[in-house]
Every structure is written in structure tokens, then in C-alpha cells.
């Protein structure tokens, strides 16, 4: 009975947060605007550094793994750029509520708005890095429009997944200050455990280990259509089930805590 009530509260608050689109849209956009103001290049500066990193590391890793460069560059660059987006969003989720303590203690802005603002800001940054992906695709791959659309639609699903995760992370870090250390370390670990620089086939007969990692399926689903690979039904099942679980996690944590957050901070 009580669980239903928490769920109902959570869903209501979730919807209120979504309806508040003017606030998170504007706040996210404004943060990017300020980044441009601080230096003329703004986020393009980070795009340049990412480009440099991708070029150098592609040479290095493809030599180490003795893979063909024209196959490895698209694989690595798409995965890596997605990873930057993914990890930045979750890392920033740890501190987004405590950074806005004064606002939270004085107004009743829905907690989801802060995660959406964060996501939106990072989507902007991802859009900048997307230029690299487009250049790589033009140089190394033959992509059909339909593949691009499949990939983009799964990217949008990833936005939803990330919003849910970051709401959960932001709420738990508001309650437990040392939770953020755990998250940051886990994300770092996940970078090495997820096939981004390496390919699952390297594991030989232990390839099933990667199948256990939900992130692998998410990344693969966005990456494979672009580089001409196949996607498995298992990946689809994992994506759908983790997406649904993320909704449950987000709604439950919002419903349980959204009125207590001003007291925790």
C-alpha cells in the first residue's frame, strides 16, 4: 500500500518536472552560452582536444591490438565520444543538487528539473563532438540514412536512461555525501570494463562476460548500426529491461525523498 503511494507521488513529481521544460531548457542552454563567453571557442576547445586524443590513441591502440586503422577509428571514436557524454552526465549528477542548495531550500522546483538541465547541457556538448563522428563516418564508413536513424533513436533512449540514472544518483548523493566518490570510481572502472577501446572478440571464449555488462549493450546498439555491424536481440532485451528498471528506480527515489531533500542539504 505504502509502496503504491510512494510510486504515485514519484510519478506526479516526475511529470511536474517534465512539464517544467522552460526551466531546464533555459538553464541548460544558458550554461553553454556562458561557456562560449568565457572563451571564444567555448566547447569547441574540448572538441579539438578530443579530436587530438582520438587521432593519437587510434594509432596507438590499433597498433597494439594489430587491427586495421580504418576499422578501428570509427569503432573507438564513436564509443569514446558517447562515453564522454555518458560519464560526464553521471559524474555531474553527484553534485548537481548540492550546488543548487540555496535554490532548493527556497523554492519548490521539481528535483527532476536539475537532472534534465544537466542532461540538456551535456547533449549540447555531445552535439559539438558529433562533428567528429560525422567526419569519421564520411571518411571511413558507408552509412545509410536508415542506420543513422536507428542509431539516433537509440541515442534518444539513452538520454531517457541517463536522466533516470542521474536523478537517482543526485538524490542519493544529497542524502549520503560520500556516495559521489563511489559513483565516480565505479564510472572509471566501467570505462575499462566496457568495450570502448577493446573489442569483445578479444576475450575469445570468455566473450559472455561482456554480455553481462548492460553498458556494453547500450553502447553497441548506438555504435553498431553506424559501423555496419549487427545488433542482437539480447541487446534489445537488455536495453528495454534496464530502461524500465531505471524508470522504476528514478520514480521510486523521487517519491521516497523529494520532500526531504531541502532538509538533507
Amino acid at each position: 500500500m505504502k509502496i503504491f503511494l510512494i510510486f504515485k507521488l514519484g510519478i506526479n513529481e516526475y511529470i511536474t518536472g517534465l512539464k517544467n521544460y522552460q526551466s531546464w531548457f533555459f538553464l541548460g542552454y544558458h550554461e553553454i552560452l556562458l561557456k562560449y563567453r568565457r572563451s571564444i571557442l567555448g566547447p569547441i576547445w574540448s572538441t579539438i582536444t578530443v579530436t587530438l586524443l582520438i587521432i593519437l590513441l587510434s594509432f596507438l591502440w590499433s597498433k597494439i591490438f594489430s587491427l586495421k586503422l580504418d576499422l578501428y577509428v570509427p569503432y573507438f571514436s564513436i564509443g569514446y565520444i558517447l562515453w564522454i557524454f555518458f560519464s560526464n552526465t553521471l559524474n555531474e549528477a553527484c553534485s548537481v543538487l548540492s550546488e543548487n542548495t540555496t535554490i532548493i531550500k527556497q523554492t519548490n522546483i521539481p528535483v527532476l528539473s536539475f537532472s534534465l538541465k544537466l542532461l540538456f547541457k551535456n547533449i549540447f556538448l555531445l552535439a559539438h563532438n558529433f562533428i567528429i563522428i560525422i567526419i569519421v563516418l564520411l571518411l571511413f564508413c558507408d552509412v545509410y540514412l536508415i542506420d543513422l536513424l536507428v542509431s539516433l533513436s537509440f541515442l534518444i533512449l539513452m538520454f531517457v536512461f541517463l536522466t533516470n540514472l542521474s536523478v537517482f544518483i543526485s538524490i542519493v548523493s544529497a542524502r549520503f555525501f560520500d556516495f559521489s566518490q563511489l559513483v565516480i570510481n565505479l564510472i572509471q572502472l566501467a570505462f575499462f570494463l566496457t568495450p570502448i577501446i577493446w573489442e569483445p572478440s578479444f576475450l575469445g571464449d570468455k566473450i559472455w562476460v561482456t554480455q553481462l555488462n548492460p553498458l556494453y549493450h547500450w553502447f553497441d546498439f548506438i555504435r553498431q548500426p553506424l559501423i555496419g555491424g549487427d545488433i542482437s536481440n539480447l541487446s534489445l532485451a537488455v536495453i528495454i529491461s534496464t530502461l524500465i528498471s531505471s524508470f522504476i528506480l528514478a520514480i521510486f527515489s523521487i517519491g521516497l525523498s523529494y520532500k526531504k531533500i531541502p532538509l538533507w542539504l
Binding site: 522552460q22 533555459f26 549520503f176
Partner: protein, 236 residues
């Protein structure tokens, strides 16, 4: 003032947990769970107890009491920030809270952008802010500084901007924690005039204050709070 605005507070109680210093530590929590340690019983502090109040259009309320009596807690409950532990609050009308006028401003953003930031956090839509933007800029009278990042402002200029923004909102219910004093003497005069004007226009005005002069000048109802309880409601 066609529609009456109302605030009905019924049996409101608010309890805080007095958390031990390690309350926010996940490590500590896990260790306690593993050791099945229940020594850390959380004590609670009652900030507000059985508050019953009714306000309606025309009420100019002063909240009085010692520091820590529960005035700000009550204001935060009214602003829908704190969820009451018991009881409920019914409010009809839009609320503008003057508890912290520079809240939500970004030092890197220009004066004009901060009008939008502050407006959005105050719950306005962009189209609504566009309508009052001109009025705010004129009133704040910051000249060319309005297009500069507010980190270049003096603290007086920042409060001036914050004040101009908040007083441009259409407020049916105004919550204030202590009277505002802003800017230089010239601006203060202008500001007092403007604040009396918006208090006049508002339906309900609630202020926590210690200043007897001010209370006598503005308010027609005094609520005295002590230790979280309402001990006296008088009309003047």
C-alpha cells in the same frame, strides 16, 4: 481583487531530525547496519507544533518571536519547500518569496540574463519575463552595467537588481523574512515606495520581523510564535 485569496493552515507540525554529524555518511550507515548498531537513535526537534492559522485577502501579517522560534520554518512551509510532518496547508494564489532576493543568480551572467534566470527559478515563463523585463531594467537603473556580468557589480548593485526583479513579479501572496534594505539612500527611497506599492496590491502579506515600528506601520495582524507554537494572534 475579484477573487479572495486564502491561506488555511491546519494542525501544522514540522519536525526536524537532529542528525548526528556522520548522518550523511554512507560508509557509516553500512557499518552500522552490518554491526546491527541501533545506538545512533535520531533525535527530533519540533520546529512547529499544532499551528492553526487562517489568512485571507487584506491580511498584513507580522510573525514575531525569538531567533529560532520557528518564523522562517513557517515561511518555508508556506513557500512549499518544507513538507509538514503533520497537518496541511491550503493556499490559493501565487506566492512570491522575498526570503533571499539574490537566490539563483549567476555571477558570470549579465544583469539582463539574470533577470531571466531569476524569473525562471521564480516559476515564470519566458514570455512572462519578456513583458516585465523593460520595467525591471528601468527600475534597477544600472545603466550600461545591465549588460555586464554581475560579478563586476558591487553587492549593493546586485541586491538592487534582485529587488527590482522580485518586485516586478505579480504577487498575490508575499512572504518576507526581515525587511529589505537595498542600495544607496536614493534607491532606498524609491525601493520603499515600490515595496509599499506591491504590498498594497498583494492579497496577503506575511513578514517575519523584529521591528516594532515597521510592524505598526504595515501590519494589521500580529502572530507571536514561541518554541514553534503560536501563542498569540492579535489584530491591530
Amino acid at each position: 481583487m475579484a477573487i479572495e485569496k486564502k491561506i488555511i493552515i491546519e494542525d501544522l507540525s514540522l519536525e526536524f531530525s537532529l542528525n548526528p554529524t556522520n548522518y550523511n555518511s554512507l560508509r557509516h550507515r553500512i557499518i552500522n547496519l552490518l554491526l546491527n548498531n541501533k545506538k545512533n537513535k535520531i533525535e527530533t526537534y519540533t520546529a512547529l507544533k499544532d499551528v492553526n492559522l487562517n489568512f485571507e485577502t487584506g491580511d498584513r501579517v507580522a510573525l514575531r518571536g525569538h531567533n529560532g522560534a520557528g518564523k522562517t520554518s513557517l515561511l518555508r512551509c508556506l513557500a512549499n519547500v518544507y513538507e509538514p510532518t503533520q497537518g496541511k496547508i491550503q493556499i490559493s494564489g501565487s506566492i512570491v518569496s522575498f526570503i533571499d532576493i539574490t537566490m539563483g543568480m549567476n555571477p558570470e551572467a549579465t544583469g539582463k540574463e539574470n533577470i531571466y534566470l531569476r524569473g525562471i527559478i521564480g516559476g515564470l515563463r519566458i514570455s512572462e519575463i519578456k513583458k516585465i523585463e523593460e520595467n525591471i531594467i528601468n527600475f534597477a537603473n544600472l545603466g550600461t552595467f545591465i549588460d555586464q556580468p554581475i560579478k563586476t557589480y558591487s553587492s549593493g548593485m546586485i541586491t538592487r537588481l534582485g529587488f527590482s526583479i522580485l518586485t516586478a513579479f505579480n504577487a498575490e501572496i508575499i512572504l518576507m523574512d526581515e525587511w529589505l534594505s537595498t542600495g544607496d539612500s536614493e534607491f532606498q527611497e524609491k525601493a520603499q515606495e515600490r515595496i509599499f506599492e506591491i504590498i498594497d496590491k498583494s492579497h496577503i502579506f506575511i513578514m517575519a520581523s523584529h521591528s516594532i515600528d515597521l510592524i505598526n506601520k504595515i501590519c494589521n495582524k500580529i502572530v507571536t510564535i514561541d518554541n514553534g507554537k503560536v501563542i498569540k494572534v492579535e489584530k491591530i
